[in-house]
Every structure is written in structure tokens, then in C-alpha cells.
């Protein structure tokens, strides 16, 4: 791990930083996220989750499934505030 490897492309978090978090006691995607911001960026972990889960898995010896899918929150993909503000009304009216 001499060279820098980006794991979370959005927040520019390196493999080394994630490994430090794991060595510091992080044992889930959420805990890695809380310590490093990996998975907190624009894509919300879509790209890096599996890579981090693999690191957690090989460090702890536990299977990948223990770590995935992690916490998934709305919205799926960024949504503007004006759309969110109008959504309750849209639910009442329905479409067309």
C-alpha cells in the first residue's frame, strides 16, 4: 500500500485512510463513513461501498455480506429542495 489508491472517488478518500479507520476500530460501512467521509459524497457510496466492504471483510475475516448493503437513505440520487418541498402535494394530487 505504498502508492495512493483512491477508494471513495467523490470524497477523495484513500485506501490508507480507510485502513486507518478500520485499524482504529471501524467495523461497518457506517463507521468507516463516520470516520473518513467515504460514501458521503455525491454518489452516496454507490461506487465505493463494495470496495470498502471487501477491505472490512479481509481485515476481520468475516464474509462480505456482513457489511453490505450498509445504511441506504433517501433520496436515491440527489434531488432539489424545491422538488422535495412539492412532493407531499404531488402525492395528494397524483399525476395527471
Amino acid at each position: 500500500m505504498d502508492e495512493e489508491k483512491i477508494i471513495c472517488r467523490c470524497e477523495e478518500v484513500t485506501e490508507k485512510e480507510i485502513m486507518q479507520a478500520i485499524e482504529g476500530g471501524a467495523r461497518s460501512l457506517d463507521e468507516v463513513k463516520k470516520r473518513t467521509r467515504a460514501g458521503m459524497g455525491y454518489c452516496q457510496g454507490k461506487t465505493c461501498k463494495k470496495l470498502i466492504a471487501r477491505m472490512l471483510s479481509s481485515y476481520t475475516g468475516e464474509p462480505m455480506e456482513k457489511f453490505l448493503p450498509g445504511s441506504i437513505r433517501m433520496p436515491v440520487g440527489p434531488v432539489s429542495l424545491s422538488v422535495l418541498a412539492a412532493s407531499e402535494e404531488a402525492a395528494k394530487e397524483g399525476t395527471k
Partner: protein, 387 residues
């Protein structure tokens, strides 16, 4: 002499701070968290640090001592702690009047503040809509802190001082002899100790009841969301004008209304927007469509320049509070070695001092030993949601 043992129940900010100070104070500490550290209110809040939140002397003392601690910690560790100031919105004449009262109160504690009107508001809230925001009450001591980093910081300190942190280790029952708790039972085994500290946040009332201590907490749901990084729309933190609605309404809420909007813009430009809504169940983490729309609409009404700003993530967290506005602190009648430390308003603002107070309490002398904080007390206005 062997170290006295303390079991800390709850892995939020207070639990981790307690674990750190207790372990550093010579106790043999085990922290038991039912899920993951900071998975409830401590992980779901926006990290507001507020001096103007409460005006009682005991609370001000906790606040000012804690701020001093955060400043000291920040010389070595980046917890994103800042005292960038903070505003409370003023939207009508009543608010102005309340703001002036608050200013008087703050003067008695030598806390600086100012009331701004018109275009001056933009100095601190560059993105605010002035047709709605008539003014602000501004206090330069208000601030914010990264809640997750702070929890992890205390956790690391606790571990370095020898504390054992156990996640996914819910306390299911206590073994008592008379009114003394001998051990806490969990699926991971029994944990014996001389003292048990109940800092389980929203779960504190369940833990309390297991031990025969009523701990009459209520809960409300906070809906929170974070935007993409954007330009500065608010320097420091901001609270909606409902904070002027009188302490009881803000602390206790009244039924199912939306309670005060709050926001903090983080260092990288993302805006954390949060709003508390109605009473809820301790385990109710559902996001509701009306909650989401309500928060978004409330925010863009005050900051119309953010209509197209995108939200990256939203979540909700249950936050505990007590209807009479006072926290629960002290030992229980039926569990004389269970110390409760829960229901503090704005726990991030005061947690270091609460933790130190806990250490003092275990040594027999705390300034917070007061019947009005007793976990056994009847609570005026208590809404028993889960009973």
C-alpha cells in the same frame, strides 16, 4: 485496591464522553451499545453548539465549561469545532420583544449578543429572504461541532484509557440484590460492576424501567437532510424563530406541530438542515413524506436562493427530551448504583462537563444532585407515548 467498575449504557455522545472521563479517572469501564456507536440521536443531529439555548445557571455552567474543553481539544484534534456565531430568526414584533429579553438574560452571564435588522442580517445569513426574516438575534459564541468525529474522539480516548467498547450488546435486564444492581445482562454475557451509568439517550427510559427507575422521557422525531456543497448562505448556525416561542414550547413541543428549523453549514459547504416534528416512539426512525416536504419547504421559504440546491441524503432521528425541560441526572431510589444522565437539551453543547459531573457523582458529590433532576420524579406535562 482493584479499580471500581463502571458499566456505561449507551454509545452516543454522553456515553462515550463518560467512558473516556471515567476510564481516565481510574475506573474500569465497559461501554455497552445496543447497536452501533452514534447510531441514534448523536449520529443524526447537526452538531449545534448553543450557549443561548438555556438560561439557567446550572446549564450555563455546563455549557461554558464544555466549550472550554472543546477549545482545548481543538488545539490537538480537528473536531470541526467552531464558534462562528449563530442566529435566531426574527420574523415578527413578538420575536423582537423576545430577542430583547434574551439579550438581557445573556448579559447577566456576560455572553455577548446583538440584534440585527434589515440588510445587516445578510452579514450572517447571506442567503436569507429579508421579506420574511426581519431580523436576527446573533450571538458570536454559538457554534457547531462535527458530531460523528466528536463521538469517535471520545471513544478513542476511552479505549486508550482502557475502556472496553461493546457494540451490538443491548442490555436486556439487570440482576439486582435489593436496590443494588449487580450485573447487566446482555446476549454477549453478564457485565458486573459497582456502578451503572444510564446514558442511553432515547432508550434511557427503557433502561431505567428495567431497573425500577421511572425516567419519564418523551421523544420527538427530527428530520434532517444535507445538501450538496454550496456557497455560504449562513455563517455559523441558525435556528428558526420558534425558539422565541417560549421555553416550554421549544423544549416540550405541543402535539404534532413542526418545531423550529435549524441549520448548520459545514466546512465543506454542505448545509445540514434539521427540523423536529411531533411526538414519536423511541424506535420510530421512519422518514415521512410530510416531514421531508415540510423541512424542505420551510427551508427554501427562508432561503429562496437554494430552491435548486440538491439534497444528497436525508434521515430521521429520535431525540429524547423531558416535558418539564429538565434533564434526568442522579441515582435512582430503586437502583442506588444506577446513575442516569439523559434528557439533556443540546447534549453536544454540554457532554464533556456532563461526563465530568458523572465522575464526580460516582465519587459522591455532584452539583447536579437536585430533586428537580431526579430520574424518579414525576414530570409535568408528560406525554406517555409508549406506556
Amino acid at each position: 485496591m482493584a479499580a471500581e467498575k463502571a458499566v456505561v449504557i449507551g454509545g452516543g455522545i454522553i456515553g462515550n464522553a463518560c467512558a473516556a472521563y471515567l476510564a481516565e479517572g481510574g475506573f474500569s469501564v465497559a461501554l455497552l451499545e445496543r447497536k452501533e456507536l452514534a447510531c441514534a440521536a448523536s449520529g443524526g443531529n447537526v452538531g449545534q453548539i448553543s450557549v443561548i439555548d438555556r438560561a439557567e445557571p446550572w446549564h450555563m455552567r455546563l455549557t461554558l465549561n464544555s466549550l472550554k474543553t472543546y477549545r482545548e481539544i481543538s488545539e490537538k484534534e480537528d473536531l470541526e469545532f467552531s464558534q462562528d456565531g449563530g442566529s435566531i430568526l426574527i420574523e415578527n414584533d413578538d420575536d423582537f420583544e423576545q430577542a430583547e429579553k434574551l439579550q438581557e438574560e445573556m448579559k447577566t452571564f456576560d455572553v455577548p449578543s446583538e440584534i440585527l435588522e434589515g440588510n445587516d442580517v445578510l452579514r450572517y445569513l447571506p442567503g436569507a429572504d429579508l421579506s420574511l426574516v426581519k431580523g436576527i438575534f446573533y450571538c458570536p459564541w454559538e457554534g457547531s461541532i462535527n458530531p460523528l468525529k466528536t463521538v469517535m474522539y471520545f471513544r478513542d480516548r476511552a479505549v486508550r484509557a482502557g475502556a472496553e467498547i461493546r457494540e451490538y450488546c443491548p442490555v436486556e435486564s439487570f440482576r439486582k440484590e435489593g436496590s443494588v444492581i449487580r450485573s447487566a445482562h446482555t446476549p454477549e454475557g453478564d457485565f458486573e460492576a459497582d456502578y451503572f451509568i444510564n446514558c442511553a439517550g432515547s432508550w434511557a427510559s427503557r433502561i431505567g424501567k428495567m431497573a425500577g427507575v421511572p425516567t419519564r422521557l418523551s421523544w420527538r422525531r427530527g428530520t434532517a437532510m444535507i445538501t450538496q456543497p454550496i456557497p455560504v448562505i449562513a455563517r455559523g448556525q441558525m435556528c428558526g424563530h420558534a425558539l422565541f416561542g417560549g421555553t416550554s414550547e421549544v423544549i416540550g413541543g405541543n402535539g404534532s406541530e413542526l418545531i423550529s428549523l435549524g441549520l448548520v453549514q459545514t466546512k465543506d459547504g454542505g448545509v445540514l438542515i434539521a427540523q423536529a416534528t411531533k411526538y414519536t416512539d423511541a424506535d420510530d426512525k421512519d422518514i415521512t413524506l410530510s416531514g421531508v416536504s415540510g423541512v424542505a419547504a420551510g427551508f427554501i421559504r427562508h432561503f429562496p436562493c437554494c430552491r435548486d440546491t440538491e439534497i444528497l441524503r436525508m434521515w430521521s432521528a429520535v431525540t429524547p427530551f423531558s416535558d418539564d425541560g429538565n434533564p434526568f441526572f442522579g441515582f435512582g431510589k430503586n437502583a442506588v448504583n444506577l446513575l442516569t444522565a439523559a434528557g439533556f437539551k443540546g447534549a453536544f453543547t454540554t457532554s464533556p462537563e456532563i461526563a465530568r459531573e458523572t465522575v464526580r457523582a460516582l465519587k459522591g458529590h455532584s452539583e447536579l444532585f437536585d430533586s428537580k433532576f431526579s430520574p424518579d420524579r414525576e414530570v409535568r406535562g408528560y406525554h406517555a407515548v409508549c406506556e
